[in-house]
Each structure stands twice: as C-alpha cells, then as structure tokens.
Symmetry: C2
Subunit: 144 residues, 2 copies
DNA sequence: TTTAATGCAAAGTGTTTGCACTATA
DNA sequence: TATAGTGCAAACACTTTGCATTAAA
C-alpha cells in the first residue's frame, strides 16, 4: 500500500468508518481507472469478488461526502472519479453530442484561468466555492 | 404573442413538429419562470390544464434537441430553462451544499471570460463547443 | 386526411433502503 | 463485543414507451 492509499485509509478511519475489504477493492479500482466511472462500471469490475451494487453506491456516497471522490452528473447518471491525489484536481469534461463520449480536457493553462475566475466570483458574490463542475458540450475532433 | 414567442413557434414548425396547445402553454411557463424548473415543477403549474407528465418530458426533450431549452443535471435530476432569448445565454450555476439551493451567478464580466476560455480550448483541442454547463459547488452567502 | 402529439398506465433505469447477517475495531 | 458494513431483494423516484385516441397542418 502506497502513501496516498494509506492516508485515504486513515481519513476513512478518522471519520469513524471501517476500512473494509470492499472499500479497499473499490478504492484500488478508482486508483487504476484514472477516469470517471459509473456505479455499474465499477460493479462490473468487482462483482466477481462478491461485492453488491448497493455497496458500490453506499461506498461512492461515503467517499463523495468525505471528499475522496468527485461525482459528476451527465445524462441523468452519476460518474465517479478520484478527487484526492488526482493529477488533475480541477478538470474540465467535454461531452460529444454525436458519439456521446465524455472526455477530459487537459490543459493546465486553461484550468488555472478557470480557478482564477472562481476566485473572482467568490469575492463578488460572497460565496465560498469548494469545487467546480465544468461540462462543455459540442462536437469532438472525430465527429465534427 | 410577442416576437420571440413567434419565432420559436416558427422554429418548431420548420423542424416539422406541430405547435400544439400543450407546447404553447409549457413555453409560456418557461418564459415567465426565468429560472430552471424540474419536469415536476412544470407539471404542477400546468396539470390543471389537463397536460400529462409524459407530455412535459416529451416536450422538454424536443425543446432541448432543437435548442430552445437547456437541460442541466444536478442531484441526478434534470432542470430545464429557456436557452433561446435568455437574458443570460451562458450562465453559471452555484449549488450550496448546505441548503441545497441552486442559484444563478450573474456576473457579465466573468461570463465573457468563460466564453473566451472556451474558445481557447476549442482551438487547442480541436473541439467545437456549442454550450457549457458550469456548476460551482460550495457554501452560499447565508450558509457559510 | 395524414401524421405528429397526447394522456394514461405500464415499463424501464438508476439509486436507495430494510433486513438479517457479517466483519471490523 | 459493539457497531459499521454487507448482500440481497424490494422499494423508490425520475423518465421513457406502447397504445388507442386526438388534433394540428
């Protein structure tokens, strides 16, 4: 178990939850996936280990509530991705209206500018922004 | 019927759909609401006119597909709002994690900057961006 | 008069929950 | 050993669909 993994384990325990085998397996899946997954997709990866769909949902809700995971909504469905120790703390999603793929937009420069804009809004609107979900919609390189 | 209303009527007809009483009533509701509504909320406003929930969904899907309405997802639910002739073509939503309200962030300056960033991404990633869903998450003025 | 659209109820899909049982701290 | 967590199935909530009927062009 590496450092990051251990510190997430510790966070779970600090919050008063038990670090079960199921949580470990799901967490491993999230680490190796590095992309947003639906509950069903996670389920299909771990169901051979006798983990039920309900456990996936319960775990993702727990992980989301303590900040381990980020939940994004698209097409009336939830996608989950690792938020903690992510290489891309804020990232922008792009959804193609033709092929329906959801891809990550990696562009460090742009992300920093987005974060700056959030700070502008925070100040002018007296909000406290913890997170941002940005979903761009249009046609991808292949479909346009 | 004002100009904007008429041109939406025309758009619907041009696309080969019929401008029914139900579509007119729902459209009127969207115009007067000026904020995102769920299908149920629209339904509760028009059910006394003998319009079924299924019609709301079918109409919203149609309106979304031809660009009259914008659909935003939050908490696994769909909200709909007028996109055409909206005073705020791109706007940013903010969701408070405490009171669960979803509010609009109106700040013209910031919105223009967001649009510029989209253009940057379009060029560097070879995408064609039609729309952007931006949902900021945190604590609102009252809850923080 | 053709064809899209409607209301209703049934079906579908993603998610949550109740419960008896299990496993962690 | 106390309590959080689990798998399963049933329940839920939002959305879509099949069908006979209606109404718009």
């Amino acid at each position: 178990m590496n450092k990051e993994f251990l510190s997430i384990k510790k966070l779970i325990e600090t919050k008063g939850y038990k670090f079960t085998i199921q949580k470990r397996i799901i967490l491993e899946e999230l680490f190796s996936a590095d992309i947003h997954l639906t509950a069903k997709e996670i389920y299909s990866k771990v169901k051979n280990k006798n983990i039920g769909l309900a456990t996936i949902y319960r775990t993702m809700n727990l992980f989301t509530s303590i900040g381990i995971v980020k939940e994004i909504h698209a097409d009336g469905m939830s996608y989950y991705e690792l938020k903690m120790y992510s290489k891309k703390p804020l990232h922008i999603h792009f959804k193609c209206i033709k092929c329906n793929r959801i891809i990550d937009v990696d562009n460090t420069g742009v992300e920093i500018k987005y974060l700056k804009l959030n700070r502008e809004i925070e100040e002018s609107k007296k909000l406290q922004i913890h997170d941002a979900n940005i979903m761009l919609i249009g046609l991808c390189d292949k479909c346009k």
